[in-house]
């Protein structure tokens, strides 16, 4: 056996064994849903209602509270600023008259999240309690989730942020995706998300977070008795953020 044959044979062997092992790994890969806490609140299905009739068009308290709580980066450049929750002008109709509404938009924590579906490394996944979350240590920064999200709710860290308002929560390095996590870390210890708290403080009390699995919860009373709308329900993503007065 000469050197060339030796290289060919070993190369072929390594390739066969390697790809065989890898194929096994792929075939044995299982579901996406993961629970990462043993907190009693698990098993719920979190949802949100935003009452636009109560939300004040010029108030941004929830935005600021979210930014501070979660260290959401802001550089003063529209291209790179991240917003876990933001207010967008949306044209609606009252009768035949067009009206503009300021609508708070955030991750809809879809039951069929397209972002988690397309993520090539399972960095984005849905927890058992319905919260869609990003593992920013695994994310490769391909931004496919941003492209798949119908709500433009996915964010990307274009650059590092020097500010670190809440040192109890992590900052993200540049090059990874992120989105609202419904303040999972707060829900896990029995606190309401930062935006909900801020909205209560400012007196509007327009945001409600509750358990969609609980038949007698306030959120289920509202969504079943009042005329609520979700954004782009037609896409089949089953968003879990409901709007009153949209």
């Amino acid at each position: 056996m000469d050197r060339r044959d030796f290289i060919k044979t070993t190369g072929g062997l390594i390739l066969t064994v390697g790809s065989g092992t890898y194929a096994f790994r792929i075939l044995s890969a299982t579901g996406v849903s993961v629970s990462d806490t043993d907190n009693p609140l698990i098993g719920k299905k979190w949802g949100m209602v935003i009452d636009l009739t109560k939300c004040r068009p010029d108030c941004t308290d929830c935005l600021t509270a979210c930014r501070t709580e979660n260290n959401v980066s802001f550089h003063g450049d529209k291209r790179w600023d991240n917003h876990w929750i933001r207010k967008v002008k949306i044209e609606g109709e009252v009768g035949h008259t067009k009206v503009e509404k300021m609508v708070p938009l955030l991750c809809n924590h879809c039951d069929n999240p397209p972002c988690a579906q397309v993520c090539p490394v399972k960095a984005t996944y849905k927890r058992d309690d319905g919260i869609v979350i990003v593992d920013h240590h695994r994310c490769i920064g391909c931004r496919y989730c941003m492209i798949a999200c119908p709500y433009n709710a996915r964010q990307f860290n274009f650059k590092n942020d020097e500010d670190w308002p809440n040192e109890e929560r992590p900052k993200r390095s540049h090059g990874v995706a992120e989105a609202c996590n419904l303040c999972a870390h707060r829900l896990d210890v029995g606190q309401m998300p930062a935006c909900v708290e801020a909205c209560q403080k400012c007196g509007a009390n327009a945001i409600l977070v509750g358990d969609l699995n609980d038949p007698v919860s306030e959120i289920n009373r509202i969504t079943s008795t009042l005329s609520v709308k979700r954004i782009r329900e037609d896409l089949g993503t089953e968003p879990k953020v409901y709007y009153l007065g949209l």
């Binding site: 390739l15 890898y22 790994r25 792929i26 890969a29 996406v32 529209k78 291209r79 790179w80 600023d81 991240n82 967008v88 938009l105 397209p114 988690a116 579906q117 397309v118 993520c119 090539p120 490394v121 399972k122 960095a123 695994r138 994310c139 490769i140 920064g141 391909c142 931004r143 496919y144 941003m146 492209i147 798949a148 999200c149 119908p150 709500y151 433009n152 964010q155 990307f156 860290n157 274009f158 650059k159 590092n160 540049h174 090059g175 990874v176 995706a177 896409l235 089949g236 993503t237």
Partner: protein
């Protein structure tokens, strides 16, 4: 056999040096991007894929188009392509490598690229794209190497290679289909959410690829003793003609469906491309230029007299290639983001840094291609140009029948 790439005349080494300078200049830009993140590009949270991914998409097409010489030769026994199959495969090899590099330079965290292998995600078209591209690279490297080394020894390629060749044909189709699936399965992006996207990608690839191959053949005939022959060139021209017709046809299908139904969220993207949207018309002149080139190309290719005249055929091939490059390499991706899901129009144009990084990747592709082609021509003893090439040229021009 590989050592053949390491010997050459001054002209060869001069070219290699030039390509290395391209790569070096681009590498500096890439180091800057690694340091400062994707802020050095024109990308934003609204237009999150741009020039890199567009080049990736275009080059997958070039890689797949090798099948247009492999299929007629191996399935239909079209002898005139016997010298061309390796050229097609060794054009596909650097193309696939460039595709992979364009994905890596687009990533926010390129040092985590192994996560795609470590956490295989069967739901993601990107995972399947990686699988199909690496599988294709493996196939064409094995096939190209075995066919060329058999040619060197003057024997027929080994029998065990045949299944590889046969599999490589549908596999080539698959790489561009999966690339289209990256886009066409997303409800968030109506511009791409069309079943005709994969066929359209394939049609444009099978036009641009053979057009590029014809141009390479013309160039190689100047630089080396290699001559593909009149039959082969004309057959490639016919393939490019059919593919270009189908491509334009499919684009017109899109236009009809979009504008007859009149659904705003579908129409806005086309308006952005061809008339501008909300005062943004960055791509309008490019798209009309691309359309004009497509018309010129079709006139030149469909008229037998022009197609059979080499100068005209050359112009037609340039027109096809540039037209499709603008369509796929500039328009296709950016238009998907404009307007955004929320109806916003955000400017995007590649920055100089982004362009330089692309130069690096193109440079690496050119380098690999030059080395591989050098090996082919050295093995065949065709490195020196024919001195009397200029006189031959007139004879090669075929009068129309």
């Amino acid at each position: 056999m590989l050592e053949k790439a390491l010997t050459g005349d001054k002209r060869y080494w001069g070219w290699i040096a030039f390509v290395l300078i391209m790569i070096g200049a681009g590498a500096i830009a890439y180091l800057r991007q690694l340091d400062q993140g994707l802020t050095v590009t024109g990308l934003s949270r609204d237009v999150s894929w741009g020039f890199y991914i567009a080049q990736f998409t275009f080059l997958v097409g070039v890689a797949a188009s090798a099948v247009m010489v492999v299929l007629p030769y191996y399935l239909h026994n079209f002898k005139a392509f016997s010298k061309l199959t390796i050229l097609g495969e060794f054009l596909a090899v650097p193309s696939v490598i460039m595709c992979m590099l364009f994905i890596v330079v687009d990533m926010g965290q390129p040092f985590r690229v192994q996560n795609v292998m470590l956490y295989p995600s069967l739901n993601s078209p990107m995972f399947w794209d990686m699988m199909s591209l690496s599988g294709y690279l493996f196939l064409i490297v094995v096939i190209g190497y075995m066919v060329l080394s058999s040619e060197k020894k003057g024997i027929a390629p080994p029998k065990w290679l045949k299944p590889f060749i046969i599999i490589s044909i549908p596999w080539a189709i698959s790489i561009h289909t999966v690339t289209a699936f990256l886009y066409s399965g997303l409800s968030a992006r109506p511009f791409w959410m069309t079943a005709v996207l994969a066929p359209r990608f394939l049609a444009s690839a099978f036009a641009a690829g053979p057009a590029l191959l014809i141009l390479i053949i013309f160039l190689m005939r100047k630089l080396t003793r290699f001559d593909a022959g009149k039959d082969a060139i004309q057959k490639l021209a016919v393939i490019a003609t059919y593919a270009m017709c189908i491509n334009v046809f499919l684009v017109l299908m899109e236009v009809f469906t979009t504008f007859y139904s009149g659904m705003p969220e579908h129409m806005h993207h086309f308006e952005f491309l061809y008339v501008g949207l909300h005062g943004n018309n960055t791509l309008v002149p490019w798209m009309w230029f691309s359309s004009a080139l497509a018309v010129v190309a079709l006139v030149l290719l469909l008229t037998p007299k022009f197609r059979k005249t080499e100068v005209m055929l050359g112009f037609a091939c340039i027109a096809v290639f540039v037209s499709i490059w603008i369509d796929k390499g500039l328009g296709m991706i950016v238009a998907g983001f404009t307007p955004s899901q929320m109806g916003e129009v955000v400017d995007y144009w590649p920055t100089l840094n982004e362009f330089m990084v692309s130069i690096m990747v193109w440079g690496i592709g050119l380098l690999i291609m030059s080395l591989l082609y050098k090996i082919i021509f050295t093995v065949r003893g065709e490195t020196e140009p024919i001195v009397a090439a200029k006189e031959d040229k007139k004879e090669l021009t075929v009068p129309s029948n």
